[in-house]
Amino acid sequence: MKKIDAYDDYILKIKDLVTEIKIPGQIIKPVEIENFLIPEGKIVGLAGESGSGKTMTAYSILDLFPTTAARVREGQILFKDKDLRGLSGNSLRKIRGQEIGMVFQDFSKIFNPVIKIGKQLKEELTAHGIKNQQERIARALDEVGLARDVADRYPHGLSGGMLQRVGIVAALICNPSLVIADEPTTALDVTIQAQILDLLKDLQAEKDFSLLLITHDLGVIADICDYVYIMYTGKIVEVGDVYEIYEAPKHPYTKGLLKGAFSMQGEEKSIKRPIKGSIPSLSELPQGCRFHPRCPEVMERCREQEPPFFNQEVACWLYEN
């Protein structure tokens, strides 16, 4: 497979993105991404432990945060070669939903509990001036395997799996060209996880949108992604196509994550804690390479200098040259 930076067309290109959050007494930067690419029509994974800034990356793309304390400070977010950061509020609103759809982790909270599902979907269609709403909703529900009368029900009347299917409908109903799925299966039962994942894969193949899949579960990535970015404390530490990363991970963090991933599947149970320690707080980041206090292959240099991104592949001093 060719390298992720060797394509002609990209649906999304992120350059030097910095997102910051004001907390009492200081400002932290949950996202610092130098380069991030999603080739047209591909499925790209973004993986890392929780707290590594994956979700904040998704929020930064849409410029939509759960708190007013957070904002994108600098950088470019090129969607179809157009910088989203230069857009007015209303143009950006039109892109949300219509051009970029988002699937959330916590499906139980993403619909207003006192409004019927159908009405909430209509509201989205109306916002983008789409007609034939009834028919469109019925078709979209069909596509995800839901009965049409789901539109007449309230969110609390649906099971988790059904709600997440509705979540996918809401993300796809305007035929967006990019879908961001943030931990779409994490909150579901194991049996239903696979169904939802298959559904996403099938829909992607059928409708040919690009998909950014955010997850902490490398098993999920292996299942459906073409490429994967590994994120740690807001920075990208490694990127590659999925086979490459699974065959020959480079960054010690990736190696650790992979061990964790396999131990989850029960093959190498002996490894209890794949990576020692836990992710540092963004307000107390270590000097040098941010991963060095937890790294099994740490060198003297790692404690002092932060590694650059070598060969457009990995940010680790082991791979200098």
Binding site: I23, S50, E183
Partner: protein, 301 residues
Amino acid sequence: MSNNSSKDSSEINKIWYYFRRKKLAMAGLVIVAMIFIMAVFAPLLAPHDPHSITRHRFEAPGTADHVLGTDNMGRDILSRVIWGARVSLLVGILASVTGTIIGITLGAVSGYFGGWVDNLLMRITELFMTIPRFVLALVVISFFGTGINRLILVIGFLSWPGMARIVRSEYLTHKSHPYVESGRVIGMSDWRLIFIEILPNVMPQVVVVATLDIATAILLEAGLGFFGLGDPNLVSWGGMLSLAQGYLRRAWWMSVFPGLAISLAVLSFNLVGDGLNEATNPRLQSEGFNTAESKLSGGKT
């Protein structure tokens, strides 16, 4: 136990730390302190005897002798406002204390034991929340006669339901905490657990509600006074307003100053209560930042 008390004092320090930062709450505290001083030192502060009738009737405010004017019997309004603080504070605080004692007892028993006891007590609470207590207070005092002790008792006995509900919900959460479970395991009696082990942990909430209850009790007392059911031997702000009603055209100052006094007293206790509530409730402490952080971390597990 020394361990326990040092924990308590650090808790108080923490609450004070947050409370101090709230300008409005501090302003409320200053007003409360001023009303306290007025009430305690009324005989020294008041320029005149509040009861002495003079021939300077309906004197407008602004004269050197009667800064806030005089009423229909030539009594000094300023002195009466100062003395009135005594009744308001006394009734407000003691009625709130009475209500608090009843509320804590019923709420704690209800929340701790649960079951049919809880069911019964909550039904009674509901009944007392439903009865319009101002009207009930009016009827009871008309029947049994007035007097400051009765005012305190009647208002106190009518203002416990809110406290009982909040204490109950606190006990419901506390009773399954490990410290209570382990107390039970080592054989502590229920009463010890209720009043010695759990109660101190519920106190911050109790103080918040009790402070707000003082404000409500002051309003209730003023209302009763306005209906002519205040203690006839004491000067009360509500009674002054009742008197002013008949002379609105003649002497606006008879209404304006005692009314301001009631409003300020109620406002200040409300401000202190709100401030305490925010200071004791970590969720409210710094709206924006804390919620932002918890939301961001909560979103990705």
